[in-house]
């Protein structure tokens, strides 16, 4: 069974701090997606990483796919209250299906 583990489960930090959240698996994925979900809404796609070692930047967010395509990280620089939300990673398996992690709940305090 393919599993994606996200850590930490919960993170609360002050505005302006940096943070990194992780998405790990023992399985290889064809690609990996990161979503952000705000209260009362559905997840919204942030980025897709495909190549082992790939790094993508979205303003203050930096996403990296592990060399072996088994793990990924999301680093946020100078976090802002607007970054608050549930961050979900999802890995694509060989059947084009997404395997979801349980998410990291991030709170940025002003």
């Amino acid at each position: 069974t393919q599993l994606l583990e996200q850590s930490p489960q919960f993170l609360s930090i002050q505005e302006g701090e940096n943070l990194t959240v992780y998405c790990n698996s023992s399985s290889v994925f064809s690609s990996l997606q990161w979503y952000r979900q705000e209260p009362g809404e559905g997840p919204v796609l942030l980025v897709t990483v495909v190549t082992g070692g790939e790094v993508k930047k979205l303003k203050r967010l930096t996403f990296q796919f592990g060399d072996a395509r088994k793990d990924s990280s999301l680093h946020i620089t100078a976090a802002q209250p607007g970054d608050t939300g549930l961050y979900l990673c999802a890995g694509e398996n060989s059947n084009y299906q997404l395997i979801w992690g349980a998410g990291t709940k991030l709170i940025i305090k002003p």
């Binding site: 690609s31 997606q33 009362g40 997840p43 796609l45 897709t48 084009y96 299906q97 997404l98 349980a102």
Partner: protein, 116 residues
């Protein structure tokens, strides 16, 4: 606006009742999904339809029955509701099955079902 729309947003009902949740997408996508998100925020796929044909049917009670009248609609009917069915249900859509690198899932805003 192009989107995935699901109704109702909130649904409170008594145990034993039958209820339906409707989902429509105007994105021209061929594939639609129903997900259940529990209190711990874990997203679990329930069903997937590709162009009105069921392609994923995870282990869910047969009280849950999806219906896709056309590729733009995927409704979820639940019979004999139980307390454990309380959760947020999300509808999503995507282009036809292909590498996810080419697309992302588009989610509706969810239906919060509370069974009392």
């Amino acid at each position: 606006d192009t989107a995935v729309s699901q109704t109702p947003k909130y649904l409170v009902t008594q145990m034993g009742n039958d209820k339906s949740i409707k989902c429509e997408q105007n994105l021209g996508h061929d594939t639609m999904y129903w997900y259940k998100q529990d209190s711990k925020k874990f997203l679990k796929i329930m069903f997937s339809y590709n162009n009105k044909e069921l392609i994923i049917n995870e282990t869910v009670p047969n009280r849950f029955s999806p219906k896709s009248p056309d590729k733009a609609h995927l409704n979820l009917h639940i019979n004999s509701l139980e307390l454990g069915d309380s959760a947020v249900y999300f509808c999503a859509s995507s282009p036809p099955l292909q590498p996810a690198a080419n697309y992302g899932y588009t989610f509706g805003s969810g239906t919060r079902l509370t069974v009392v």
